[in-house]
């Protein structure tokens, strides 16, 4: 069987207990029922059989994934695992949550279903994440408390931090300190905002200021973080790759994310990733409750074909074919491009930022080799789950 896993984002709840200003998802009070999950599982396993994939990585997101409660995930696990095993396949489950609903009842399911690992999101400074009617400060407090509880319970936590205009005004060292010191998290991934769906506050950031911040953050991490094992994405994978080591880049820099990812929501809608599935129905690949043959859907979907053809267009028409960083980028993220420029047939709006970052990482590659040698620790990039962008 193929060693390549199927990467799948599942959105079992399209509503959320938070009211973040910049959320790119169009919410609705729809949740996935277990009978419908059973139908989806059949379709997914049929597709895995056709693509000869032994394993699927399932990223449970929302809306807010925890709204379904721990018992629902236990039942989902009981349903999916034997179905996969009966066909000689397996699922690896990952959870992405705002942690608002986290508490002791979740502990068993985090251990058994999610292998003791939780993915969450927070920004610094937090300007957009809030509960309905609440303030970002209140939300941060709730989140920090939940993180503390989860860490005390022995869970591993990875955080996605989306930058905002105010992030660029704080010293990068303070940014890092908030996550590693105040929150106690040592696995951080920095993401760049985009103005998708009904949001406000996720506007594309100005390139020069953003580049300065990211380069400063890279320096801050190298000065105080790298040597003590703090993982900072996407820098860590970039540095490893520039040093000739294996590394797994986030989806924005995959050769073609349409080859790698799929997203299915609680209504059965299939699209490239969560933003597309919740907010841009014209870009859906189809609906699995209407046409359960996922492989056939992917084969004939004009929307998917457009995504698949995007890098070729960029190489031909947008200059990416001449870029010295082609092997790292391939034209960047379609959703960031679409939400900033109204088309996927253009370079990622953060192109200049990426180029600055790639250049800086190439410069630092030798230093990384020396440090890794001195630390004599194994490369940690490859066996980890993929660094997702959302």
């Amino acid at each position: 069987m193929s060693g390549r896993p199927l990467s799948l984002i599942l959105l079992p709840a399209l509503d959320c207990n938070a009211a973040c200003d910049y959320c790119f998802e169009k919410k609705s009070r729809v949740r996935l029922s277990l009978p419908d999950l059973s139908r989806l599982t059949r379709s997914i396993l049929d597709h895995m059989e056709i693509m000869d994939a032994e394993r699927a990585e399932v990223y449970w997101q929302g809306g807010e994934a925890m709204l379904l409660g721990p018992a629902w995930y236990e039942a989902a696990f009981e349903l999916m695992e034997p179905a996969a095993a009966a066909r000689g396949r397996s699922f690896a489950h990952y959870l992405q949550t705002n942690l608002v609903g986290f508490g002791p009842p979740w502990r068993d399911v985090i251990r058994t279903v999610f292998n003791g690992s939780i993915g969450t999101s927070m920004d610094y400074p937090n300007r957009h994440r809030r509960l309905p009617g609440g303030t970002p400060e209140q939300f941060t407090e709730i989140w920090l408390r939940a993180v503390g509880e989860a860490l005390s319970a022995g869970f591993e936590i990875g955080v996605i931090a989306v930058l905002n205009a105010d992030s660029l005004r704080v010293p990068p060292g303070d940014f890092l300190q908030f996550f590693t010191g105040q929150a106690g998290i040592t696995n951080i991934q920095v993401n760049l905002p985009f103005p998708g769906g009904p949001s406000h506050g996720g506007e594309t950031l100005e390139s020069a200021a953003l580049s300065r911040f990211l380069e400063g953050l890279l320096d801050a991490w190298m000065a105080d973080g790298f040597d003590r094992g703090v993982r900072l994405g996407p820098f860590e994978a970039l540095l490893d790759l520039c040093a000739g080591r294996p590394g797994r880049l986030p989806c924005i820099w995959n050769p073609n994310c349409a080859n790698e990812f799929l997203c299915i929501d609680a209504r059965g809608a299939v699209a490239l990733c969560d933003c597309w599935v919740t907010s841009y129905p014209r870009h859906h690949f189809g609906n699995l409750f209407e046409s359960p043959d996922l492989s056939a859907m992917l084969r004939v979907s004009p929307a998917r074909r457009a995504f698949l053809d995007r890098p070729t267009y960029l190489l031909q028409e947008e200059g990416c074919g001449l870029c010295p960083h082609l092997s790292l980028c391939h034209g960047g993220c379609p959703v960031r491009t679409f939400t900033a420029k109204g088309t996927i047939l253009a370079r990622d709006p953060y192109c200049e930022v990426y180029q600055a970052l790639f250049g800086k990482c190439r410069e630092l590659a030798g230093e990384v080799v020396r440090r890794r040698l001195a630390l004599s620790r194994p490369n940690q990039a490859s066996p980890e789950p993929p660094s997702r962008n959302q």
């Binding site: 790759l241 000739g244 050769p255 053809d309 074919g321 001449l322 391939h330």
Partner: protein, 267 residues
């Protein structure tokens, strides 16, 4: 296929798909040019197929699972961007991209290298523009840390200059008839004499060039090149080729130094 130290006892045959039935017992490189050739390929036992050679337009048809595919680029300038579409198929099978050294070769090669696909550069007798493009490919090959798949003949040249590994450019490019004998397509004009289709050809060719006092006689790279760039026209001047090989030589020396220093590092 790898061009290992010695030629195999029975050379592989490179045949048009239409004539596979005429060669029932040997290992084959099957040259497919049309969708209909798929059935011919399916009729051959997979363990006899070393490569399927096919144009880019046929790269994603339903070739038998797992068989290696050599994508033959005809017009690099026109086809370069579309090579990126191979990112879909590269997880299903080994894919190599063979690119002639003509306009667009650097773009095509860099795109294939960005996807970590092995590349076979078919140099022929390149003019100054094509040689300049090969230099660009060489720079990417030598200095882009992401360029970690094989690029022939650079791989073989580097191994020769670094380790003295005696694989000629002919063998590395699978053009040595001691390794692969090419059966022409029906009606294909025969190459100029001497024809490179008999075992022993490469040794005879370089001997002849040296005997005739071609520039190979005093060339430091002749042991590796074996007159590849002098074929078919022995009068071809290697002015644009030698700097490429010299650059590989300089890097081979630097790598040898680095390796020496690395061995001295504490473990």
């Amino acid at each position: 296929m790898t061009a290992d130290i010695g030629p195999p006892p029975d050379p592989i045959l490179s045949v048009p798909a239409g004539s596979v039935d005429a060669h029932p017992a040997v290992s084959l490189v099957i040259r497919a040019n049309r969708q209909e050739d798929l059935d011919r390929v399916r009729g051959v036992s997979p363990d006899r197929i070393v490569w399927i050679e096919a144009p880019l337009d046929l790269a994603e048809i339903a070739w038998p699972p797992g068989l290696p595919l050599d994508v033959m680029v005809a017009d690099p300038a026109r086809e370069a961007a579309r090579l990126h579409g191979l990112s879909r198929a590269r997880d299903d099978r080994l894919i190599r991209v063979s690119i002639p050294a003509k306009a667009g070769v650097s773009r095509a090669a860099r795109i294939a290298m960005a996807l970590q696909l092995p590349v076979r550069l078919l140099p022929g007798q390149p003019g100054p523009e094509a040689a300049a493009e090969l230099r660009t490919v060489l720079e990417t090959y030598l200095h882009d840390p992401q360029a970690n798949a094989s690029v022939q003949p650079f791989d073989a040249a580097l191994e020769y200059l670094l380790h003295g590994r005696p694989v000629t450019a002919w063998a590395a490019l699978e053009l040595d008839p001691a390794y692969v004998i090419r059966i022409p397509d029906p009606g294909e004009p025969l190459p100029a004499a001497p024809r490179p289709d008999a075992p022993g050809f490469v040794a005879a060719w370089i001997s002849r060039l040296v005997f005739e006092a071609a520039e190979c006689a005093g060339c430091p790279y002749a042991g590796w090149c074996a007159g590849l760039f002098k074929w078919p026209d022995p009068a071809y001047a290697c002015d644009h080729i030698k700097p490429l090989l010299a650059a590989i030589g300089v890097n081979a020396e630097a790598i040898a130094r680095d390796l020496g220093e690395a061995l001295d590092l504490p473990t």
